[in-house]
């Protein structure tokens, strides 16, 4: 088995490679990777819920959306967040995502399994409805066009500079979530995923743990939304639409739930495939759908699960005998 240290080294090496290679690769690739990185933060927040806590949230676009709309509204209507106060908007985006999750969590976390999924879906659609209908604030169907990116010593209108910023946010988010899932709190989430009733009997207030995890995921969703708004320069109901939530969920499943890295890989593949296929064929969505179906059928642990599957196949019965042999007589 690969040791944890080697795995971390691989991830760091991959990150360094992205930071070195992407800026050399032309503006189209830079922008594409920037978008994938911003979205990957959302996907990792979904993984915290789906992979680590066992809650399949279908409404993560809501927190993403409020973060994005907050950024766009503040920038266009109040001229806030185009200079040093960009950092203020980042903090506000995280807080508003977390606050909305704190509100929605009160309803959603009462339920489990598919009911949780339905409630988060419904609440997410409420936010979409607001974005679509609240014309005076959100610009309705047209959305909000932003005028350029912030500049504060760093000129973020330069795509490469902005890429580095998003890359830094992505790396920090991954680090923070990595520490979180290995902390006592993170382990308690895994316990809830595995057997919630036992956790209650062991003295955990499982509702509170799930609620906190939900709020944290909302905060990361808000952060992703802020970055997303500046990446595209445009926010519309499209940003909060159900497809965004589903995409995030499927990226996690594709990459491998409960791995964090899998969520990022899933985001990279989906964004890459989408750009690549949509220029080739008009039916690219079917191809993406087929990828999802194949993953769920043949790779339930996602791409990150391939090494483990491969190991199990190679060992076959060997692994089982070992387990039996270590039993006491």
């Amino acid at each position: 088995m690969m040791s944890q240290k080697i795995k971390i080294m691989i991830v760091i090496a991959a990150l360094v490679a992205v930071a070195l290679v992407v800026p050399q690769s032309g503006s189209f690739v830079v922008l594409l990777v920037t978008r994938a990185l911003a979205f990957a933060i959302l996907a990792m927040s979904v993984d915290l819920l789906l992979g680590y806590t066992g809650m399949s949230s279908m409404g993560q676009a809501a927190y993403f959306g409020v973060g994005a709309y907050l950024t766009a509204v503040l920038a266009t209507k109040f001229h806030i967040g185009m200079g040093w106060d960009f950092w203020l908007v980042v903090v506000m985006g995280i807080l508003i995502g977390a606050a909305l999750a704190a509100l929605f969590g009160l309803f959603a976390i009462r339920a489990g399994g598919v009911y949780f999924l339905m409630i988060t879906l419904a609440l997410g659609q409420c936010v979409w409805g607001l974005a679509y209908r609240w014309n005076s604030l959100t610009g309705g169907d047209n959305g909000i066009n932003m005028t350029g990116r912030p500049s504060f010593g760093l000129d973020l209108s330069n795509d490469v500079t902005f890429f580095y910023l998003v890359f830094a946010f992505f790396s920090l988010s991954m680090l923070a979530l990595y520490v979180l899932v290995r902390s006592p709190f993170g382990k308690s989430l895994a316990g809830i995923r595995e057997r919630e009733l036992r956790m209650q009997i062991l003295g955990y207030n499982t509702w509170l743990h799930k609620y906190i995890a939900f709020i944290i995921a909302g905060g990361f969703g808000g952060l992703a939304g802020v970055l997303w708004a500046h990446t595209n320069g445009h926010v519309s109901p499209e940003t909060v639409v159900l497809t965004t939530s589903v995409d995030a969920l499927l990226m996690v499943v594709l990459g491998g739930a409960g791995t964090l890295v899998g969520a990022a890989i899933g985001a990279a593949i989906v964004f890459g495939l989408r750009e690549f296929l949509s220029t080739l064929v008009p039916w690219w969505q079917y191809a993406l759908g087929a990828v999802y179906v194949m993953t769920i059928l043949y790779l339930p642990m996602g791409l990150m699960g391939i090494p483990k599957r491969w190991r199990q196949r190679n060992q076959g019965k060997g692994g089982e005998t070992k387990t039996l042999a270590s039993k006491p007589s």
């Binding site: 520490v179 006592p184 709190f185 009733l197 906190i212």
Partner: protein, 257 residues
């Protein structure tokens, strides 16, 4: 000060049930159950399948709300409390159907059980592996139970007998004052259940145990007092000898074996 609290401890029952009732629709699963368990008591509840034994445990641990009656821990009415709050009062239980964390390692299972009553369970900015004292305690518990060599195995790869033992290790990890054991020997071979009885008899004598069990040998080995539950009601309470020779009990329970 300490002597006063000791006398208090022994005067107040660890667990007391007063007129406990539970109905599921028209089915009365628990009827007017009264029970007192003092510190260090070893009591057992026996009864045929469907007598309401596990339901009784679920009422005591707060998994089901009671229909009427009271549950008291150390004289405190906890009837309306949630499960995790009762655990904090010193109660622990195991499950008839194994309720472990199958995808986590043996070590992680025990670590979670130890962390359950500590404030640091909410810490999210520090690795769990940096809590040396928690790890030491986990290793100690695993060593006592003879699991140390299998600490890194995922629990789903353990045998049924090993999982039953681990159930009890998890129950003990929170240093409970009272341990509720729901058929610890369920599904064990006779050799394994004899080992289980030995394991139970080795536990701290100050720990109160309430045991539900089908395996009469374990009950007679471990318990000093036995209550017979039938259709949710306690029919008879007595020493193992009294229960064994009671004609009523033989008729409803032992006779049907």
């Amino acid at each position: 000060m300490s002597s006063v609290s000791t006398t208090n401890d022994s005067a107040v029952p660890v667990l007391e049930l007063r007129g406990l009732c539970k109905s599921f629709g028209g089915l009365q699963a628990t009827r007017d159950v009264n029970l007192r368990i003092m510190p260090g008591d070893r009591q057992a509840i026996i009864g045929p399948n469907g007598a309401g034994k596990t339901t009784l445990f679920n009422l005591i641990t707060g998994i089901y709300p009671v229909t009427s009656g009271q549950v008291l821990l150390y004289g405190k009415d906890v009837t309306k409390w949630q499960s995790h709050e009762r655990t904090a009062m010193g109660m622990a239980r195991t499950f008839q159907v194994t309720h472990l964390f199958p995808g986590l390692t043996v070590l992680d299972n025990v670590l979670l059980a130890i962390k359950g009553l500590r404030r640091s369970k909410f810490v999210m900015w520090r690795f769990l592996s940096s809590y040396k004292e928690v790890y030491d305690k986990a290793y100690h518990l695993l060593e006592q139970a003879g699991f140390l060599d299998r600490k890194d195995l995922e629990v789903r790869n353990l045998s049924h007998g090993e999982q039953r033992q681990l159930e009890i290790v998890l129950g003990l990890a929170s240093d409970p004052k009272i341990l509720l054991l729901d058929e610890p020997a369920a599904g064990l071979s006779s050799g394994e259940s004899a080992e289980m009885a030995k394991f139970l008899m080795k536990l701290d004598p100050k720990l109160a145990i309430l045991l539900i069990e089908h395996d009469m040998e374990i009950v007679f080995d471990v318990a000093s007092q036995i209550s017979v539950l039938h259709f949710g009601q306690i029919l008879e309470t007595g020493t193992p000898q009294q229960i064994h020779s009671s004609p009523k009990v033989q008729e409803i329970y032992l006779g049907t074996d």
